[in-house]
Amino acid sequence: MSSLLQMQKVTVRFGGLVAVSEVDFHVHPGELVGLIGPNGAGKTTLFNVVTGVYAPTSGSVQFANCQVGGEPPFRITARGIARTFQNIRLFASLSVLDNVVSALNLHSKNGFFGALWRGKAFRAEEEENREEARKLLEIFGLADAAHAPCRSLPYGDQRRLEIVRALATKPRLLLLDEPAAGMNPTEKIELMRLIRFIRERFGLAVLLVEHDMKVVMGICERIAVLEHGCKIAEGTPSDIRRDSRVIAAYLGGEVANA
């Protein structure tokens, strides 16, 4: 099976600091993959390379057989990679619905002149976009709040809205940056169910950066472990749990609890 995302020998350097060093990594279509490691291990950096926030210093990043390393984020999103953020980044002055609509921009045909002329095709598409956004919100139980300002949503709903907004770009790979941060165990279980549901319903691959071992071990089919910018292990959750390097470097005695 060919990979959806394929990273080869990716290195990222900031000045003298090597944040990610020669990492090989891949995600197959429809796969659920986790990326773990202590803070400063390079997870977020790697994530930012995939989404185009940083360009790799060396190495190649391929998505659906195209070289994407170094492309700007908006183009990478257009290719089918969407993401959420560790610290929620919704568009604060927009309503819940408009947050989703803004992400539909990518696949809209009407641009500058369409918006000025406001012709038939334009109005049809506007209606279509609103309808589509509403449908997405409905799937995630947010339709009732469609016209509320997004900041008025409770924390958990804001996280979900961020996922909805990412899905509106019609991705084939969804990147979730610490989605369980700040959730209690009940919410975490709910989140795990949600991630599985998204994968089935939208048929996409999910890459997860997460600290919470229970979440990562619970839903990921494959896990990669980073430390000091290097990949020190990769395998199924049970492989990772038993990997001596991972235990020494990261899990310590906690593994029994996880």
Binding site: T51, L94, D98, F112, R118
Partner: protein, 329 residues
Amino acid sequence: MKPRILLLLVVAAFASVSFCFTGHPEASWQLAQLDDYLLNILLMAGINVILAVSLNMVNGYTGQFSLGHAGFMAVGAYGSAAITQIQGKALLEALGFLGAAAPVVLFSLAMLVGGVLAALAGLAVGLPSLRLKGDYLAIVTLGFGEIIRVMLQNTEALGGARGLTGIPPRTTLGWTWAIAALSIYCVGALVRSTYGRGFLAVRDDEIAAEAMGINTTRYKVTAFVVGSFFAGLAGALYAHMICYISPEGFSFMKSVDVVVMVILGGMGSTAGVTLAAILLTFLNEVLRQMQEYRMVAFSLLLIVLMIARPQGLIGDLARFLPGRTRLKP
């Protein structure tokens, strides 16, 4: 359906009104019969509305902070004056076959040239400024505005520091307010669409906007180009209203005046900044006798406003106007 009707109305008003009220100073039905003083205030108010609404496109809706609006206005003023004053005679002769309509056609052309030149200047400023944010961007736009001013000062063909005199009086109430309406329509129409949500997304969170597939660079440049196009038109109207322009009139102070209108009206509220522009124009006239105290009072007002009501004085009121979805700053 509604917006298009509005657009048609605007265009119709633009064509008929402007044509009627130019060219024949003797015509008894001309609005210039209005008290000259009042007419001037009304013209200035319209020009200020265009300036404030267009700056709001950049500062309010797209979240970029430009302090160089007077520079774009200058480009429009000088660009249009180059057509009607410097090249005016020759061009009027060439348009002679149009008869009485020739000056009006020439003026339209001049405005268009002024607007397009300003838009190009906006492109030139917008492109390199994209790597900057917030206060740095403010300073760079200020710098661009000053560079434009210094260049005009040193260009003898455009009158240098002495300025340009003898610009034909062509600006009418019709032209001014039709263009003001056009600017309000354009900014409103742009923002209220799926495409236009991109401007607001860029303002709220650039990184997230980019991650949603929004080409933030393109949006920011577009905002600058649209904003400076209308600033250019305002400059053209201004030049053909007072018939004399000099680089000093387009200094950093003028940019600050427009910023004050936008802030008073509430950033990101077209209705608010329109009202603020009109209000400040009139206030300016009322306080003209107390010129020296006026500026002290305005600067104090700005400081107090920022401390007490940074969302602007009028922005909240605009919520009660019909048909506007208010956007929080």
